[in-house]
Subunit: 314 residues, 2 copies
């Protein structure tokens, strides 16, 4: 399952790690920001036995570290959480590359010093905080490609909507859409009705429409995923797509109400080219918002920019 691309003997200026809950990605990056080599493996923090992160790092990129022991190593993602290697306090909003660089935590590992990028906390309305870890680095990388401002949608188990102004993250909100979908599919009566998970574009669109126009709120609308197939008005093969549309449509409605619909739709970027990101773009298009496609691979650029801001790259 692991993969390594673009073997290069050119000198690296940074080794960047994007180390999340379920995956590990590493990059050898040149002084001009080009990615010389990349390596990925399903070695997320939940897969590391006994929390032996140093051992895992050696298994994944030992040869890189031995070949260029002087090159700085910078890591971002859930590896900086309480369940990770070194828990790094959150940076506060507004946070851009300078603030993240200031908040780096250093740790002396067997292979040499590793630096960790802090996540970001946003003090939301009503004394309820919100948090990201890893997404801040991807956002900084996106800004390398795009403007210094904008609104970003980052689909996932916990999807994040991020507002950036003047190169800094000023606000964001987390929606538990992916996790709610997963537990309802796996463990509720709705999942027991589903015949397969094949994509049904028509059922997805109906879910979107019911999320936007249906009566009641989400707790009531969910029940339509039971009654429509019960009455033969939705094929059982379409229930999974319908539920996905209902939840993603609900999230988009909540998020636009929270951040305000963008005056310029192009200022809204859906990050990534995954199948899930495609669903978000179609869901936004159904509301007349043609979102920009953000790069999947912004973490390497973000790590590079933060390292440069921290003076780690000569």
């Amino acid at each position: 399952m692991s993969e390594t691309d673009g073997v290069s003997t050119a000198a690296a200026a940074l080794i960047g790690l994007d180390w999340g809950t379920t995956s590990f990605r590493a990059y050898r990056i040149a002084a001009d920001g080009r990615v010389l080599e990349r390596h990925g493996a399903p070695a997320g923090i939940l897969q590391i036995e006994g929390g032996d992160f140093a051992g895992a790092l050696g298994r994944e990129i030992g040869p890189w570290l031995e070949r260029e022991p002087e090159v700085p190593v910078l890591a971002a993602g859930m590896i900086t959480s309480r369940q990770g290697w070194v828990e790094v306090p959150y940076a506060a909003c507004p946070a851009g590359e300078a603030e993240l660089a200031q908040g780096l935590a250093s740790h002396r590992a067997p292979s040499g010093t590793i630096r960790f990028v802090p996540g970001v906390a946003f003090e939301g309305e009503g004394g309820v905080p919100d948090v990201i870890r890893g997404e801040e680095t991807q956002i900084v990388g996106q800004l390398g490609h795009e403007a210094a401002g904008g609104r970003f949608v980052m689909p996932g188990t916990h999807s994040k909507w991020v507002v950036v102004e003047g190169g800094r993250i000023v606000a964001f909100a987390t929606f538990m859409t992916g996790e709610v979908y997963g537990v309802l599919k796996g463990h509720s009566i709705l999942g027991r009705l589903m015949a397969g998970e094949g994509e049904d574009a028509h059922a997805f669109a109906r879910g979107l429409a019911h999320a936007e126009g249906g009566a009641g709120g989400l707790l009531r609308r969910l029940f339509s995923a039971r009654t429509l197939p019960l009455f033969g008005r939705l094929p059982e093969t379409g229930v999974a797509s319908y539920l996905s549309g209902l939840l993603i449509g609900s999230e988009i409605g909540e998020a636009l109400a929270w951040m305000g619909a963008p005056a310029d739709p192009e200022a809204l970027t859906v990050v990534g080219t995954s199948e899930l990101a495609g669903r978000y773009r179609r869901a936004l298009a159904a509301r007349g918002i043609e979102a920009t496609v953000g790069t999947d691979d912004a973490a390497a650029q973000g790590l590079f920019r933060i390292a440069r801001a921290a003076g780690l790259i000569g």
Copy 2:
């Protein structure tokens, strides 16, 4: 686990069955509606091996059936669903005791004829139907005690809000609150944060407040059940109660928006005296609505009234 109360040798005019997903309740009822004997067991339709409902009936109330073989037997609840004994087509709204009596289905069982009460379907907004099975009979029983109209809240895995006018159910809505709570508690990251399920009234009230006043919709608000304990702003022993308050509060907000806040709060009845029904009453009280307490045990009265309307009781 089974229990039998009030053994009586007086003649019964009806044997009523309230046979749900997880429980079985039977009543010997006199010609004037008094309950002479009652029997309950955890013999819901999901617990009956191989669908042998006739065998289960004999095990639970065989002596009653043998002693008075001429007494009519009337059943309501999920026993009339596709997963039950005899699937009975739904009655349409508006539906009261007369419409339910007209829709009875007869089935010749080894012990004699059994009649089944139909559930009710409501053709909701946007071509999305809603359904109840069992609650219609409890509502008819409530009407025996209360006025011929009102609004009823029936908490449960799928909680039901029912509008009754002129003795007939005219509209209702289902909210998947209990099931969403269960799957999030059992299978999501929120459940992993919970330290016990003990009731924490303060945390419950905070969940209610965030449901009513928090930014965003439910998918966003759910994440507060993760970030508040993460930041030490909510004890882990309170997370379960907080989530319960957040979900019940969200349901009440959705339901009041759907049916309109009652002009006369006394016209809103929360059915039952369970711990869960108590939470709903406290949640309504937090919005200034002092709901009426409905009887737990309306099914027997509902079965009696429907049997009388059907001419089964001389």
